[in-house]
């Protein structure tokens, strides 16, 4: 294989979204490189989650080009789309764990659906994910409703990495957690990136978390990405919208 610079994991060009009678995005351009942690921030209603949903193919963009792993998602066949979907993991804001299954079954679910591995192996692998996200092993047999909020997030993260994805999406991973759990979760994000060679895209409002984990931050406003830069530089950005965002910290 040629050893040139690897292509970006995600490439968005001229993304437009028209939702509920209004333009949410007029022109979004963004690239995400391998191995980085990119955070998407912006005021409420600026369309951060809509960008995430477009990337995850949960929502068809009105116009624009989205390339995931170098493939244009519009031109993929159904089969290729499924293959593509298995290369990423998503952790939803409210965990979205299947409430009728235990934590272990939640993690085993994608494995048994998509692979032909034997039971013992998938069991060990699922337990490995549980340990990786820092849950005690006893959590495996519990139902999501029996876990605290912080543990539910961890379980959701474990399910998101069940299929060893290359790309992980996190929607507000630390929102609603107490500061201590939130900082621990930041450590987890960094740990996962380093051990599993993940690329991480997250939507977050948590300033501490952004400072600790993100490599670059994309600021969404006025239907565009106003700026993509590390947090230290972003805070000095003269754009009034960005300055206003950071002014109340």
């Amino acid at each position: 294989m040629p050893k040139s610079a690897p292509p970006p994991i995600i490439e968005i060009q001229g993304l437009k979204n028209y939702l509920g009678g209004a333009w949410v995005h007029s022109d979004v351009n963004l690239t995400v490189n391998k191995g980085e942690i990119l955070a998407i921030i912006g005021g409420s209603g600026s369309g951060k989650t809509t960008i995430l949903r477009s990337l995850l193919m949960l929502q068809k963009p009105t116009a624009g080009l989205i390339k995931m792993f170098g493939q244009d998602i519009k031109s993929l066949s159904a089969e290729d789309t499924d293959t593509l979907r298995r290369r990423w993991g998503m952790m939803f804001q409210h965990s979205a764990l299947f409430s009728a299954m235990t934590v272990l079954e939640n993690i085993l679910f994608p494995m048994t659906e998509f692979t032909k591995l034997d039971k013992q192996f998938t069991h060990e692998l699922a337990m490995l994910k549980i340990k990786l996200v820092g849950l005690p092993k006893e959590a495996a047999g519990k139902y999501p409703a029996e876990l605290s909020g912080g543990m539910q997030r961890r379980a959701a993260a474990a399910r998101a990495i069940a299929m060893d994805p290359e790309l992980l999406f996190l929607d507000e991973p630390t929102t609603g957690l107490d500061p201590h759990s939130a900082r621990q979760f930041d450590d987890l994000i960094l740990f996962l990136r380093d051990t599993l060679n993940l690329t991480i895209v997250m939507v977050s409002h948590d300033f501490e978390s952004l400072k600790k984990t993100s490599d670059r931050i994309a600021f969404v406003g006025k239907g565009k990405i106003l700026s993509v830069e590390p947090i230290a530089e972003l805070m000095k950005n003269p754009d009034p919208l960005i300055a206003d965002y950071f002014s109340n910290l």
Partner: protein, 375 residues
């Protein structure tokens, strides 16, 4: 290309080491370990696993390597990993350090014996009966209070319930009643024809429709449509903590949610039964005309003379009872929902089944009472 990606572990005799090939990732690992077991174990005490040709390596791959190593260790072999990248070794080390806890099996919940389950269910049912009684009591208090202050009847709420439970149900009630009327007249007509007693169709089908079929068909439709809707609505409000929000504001969910539903249904239920009466009779008339040659006017005259208003009223008297059953069961099961989406589904099922069950029991009770009263 696909050849290069194929995952393989083989024993290289010349180098005296295991060689790994291809993508050691979760989607490719199936069958690898059985393949590994089939390789005859080398004689030498020390073996090497060479990871030079691995193209993709994830945590599943690391686990597979460890499984291979464990198997070799069982055969009292020393294993050395060679040509793995630092990050791969790190991952393997990480998995190795956690390996003991990976074998953890969550305790299996053992099912209780039959006596225990019967007892539990009995207590459950008693608690439910208790809950229903509390709800009825609460409802009565709110109703009496509301009679004193008219504002507390929440008229717009009642009207919207009349609309959703009554007016929107008109087409389906009409259609089903018409069909029941047709079917009923057809079945009875077959028998009457053999005796040449065609004109009695008006009496027989009229009695059956007014006293039993219309009230029951209406109740079944309303139980299916409305009781489930009540449960789902109150249940999702409960999950969303809206019920708790009402309590914290010092408002009563019973007054705001249950009373309007109940009153709306009590008001609209007799009208629905009457609507059903009309269409069932139409269906029976239609069938009598085409099958038994009993004209519309003859049918209606006969219906008035032999059945009359009294029998129709006997059917309509059932309406308030059925309305109470449907609204109480629907609302009660809604309040029983416990914080999960699964639960709404099961409670909705319960509410429809219980409402139907109670409606049929109540209908039987009406029959008994009517026969005591000799009407």
């Amino acid at each position: 290309m696909s050849q290069a990606n194929q995952i393989k572990i083989s024993f290289d005799v010349q180098e005296a080491c295991y060689v790994c090939h291809g993508e050691w990732s979760i989607s490719n690992l199936a069958g690898l370990l059985t393949e590994f077991k089939q390789i005859p174990t080398p004689k030498a005490l020390k073996t090497i696993i060479n990871g030079k040709n691995i193209s993709v390596f994830d945590s599943a791959g690391a686990l597979a390597i460890i499984r291979c190593m464990n198997q070799l260790n069982q055969d009292k072999k020393e294993v050395e990993l060679k040509n793995f990248s630092p990050s791969q070794l790190l991952l393997i080390e990480l998995v190795q350090s956690q390996y003991t806890s990976l074998l953890y099996e969550p305790p299996i919940l053992k099912s209780e014996n039959i006596l225990h389950r019967i007892g539990e269910e009995a207590i459950n049912k008693l608690n439910q009966a208790d809950g229903v009684i509390v709800l009825i009591g609460d409802l009565s208090i709110k109703l009496f209070e509301a009679i004193i202050t008219w504002r507390r009847f929440h008229l717009p709420n009642i009207v919207s319930n009349i609309y959703s439970a009554g007016i929107q149900a008109l087409p389906i009630v009409a259609l089903l009643s018409f069909l029941i009327g047709v079917v009923l007249a057809y079945q009875m007509g077959l028998q009457l024809q053999t005796y040449g007693a065609n004109i009695f169709i008006a009496y027989i089908s009229g009695m059956a429709i007014f006293r039993e079929f219309s009230p029951l068909i209406t109740a079944i439709i309303v139980a299916g449509r409305t009781s489930s809707a009540f449960t789902a609505q109150i249940g999702s409000m409960k999950i969303n903590e809206e019920i708790d929000a009402l309590y914290t504001m010092g408002l009563s969910p019973t007054e705001l949610l249950v009373v309007p539903k109940m009153l709306g249904l009590v008001l609209v239920f007799p009208l629905l039964i009457f609507w059903s009466d009309v269409f069932s009779v139409l269906g029976a008339m239609f069938m009598s005309k085409t099958m038994l040659q009993v004209g519309y006017v003859d049918f209606l005259n006969r219906l008035r003379d032999s059945v009359g208003l009294k029998q129709m009223m006997l059917g309509l008297y059932k309406a308030p009872v059925f309305a109470l059953i449907v609204s109480l069961v629907g609302c009660f099961q809604g309040f029983e929902v416990q914080s999960s989406a699964d639960n709404i589904g099961s409670q909705t099922t319960k509410s429809v089944v219980q409402a139907l069950f109670l409606i049929i029991v109540a209908d039987a009770a009406f029959s008994i009472v009517y026969s005591w009263m000799k009407i």
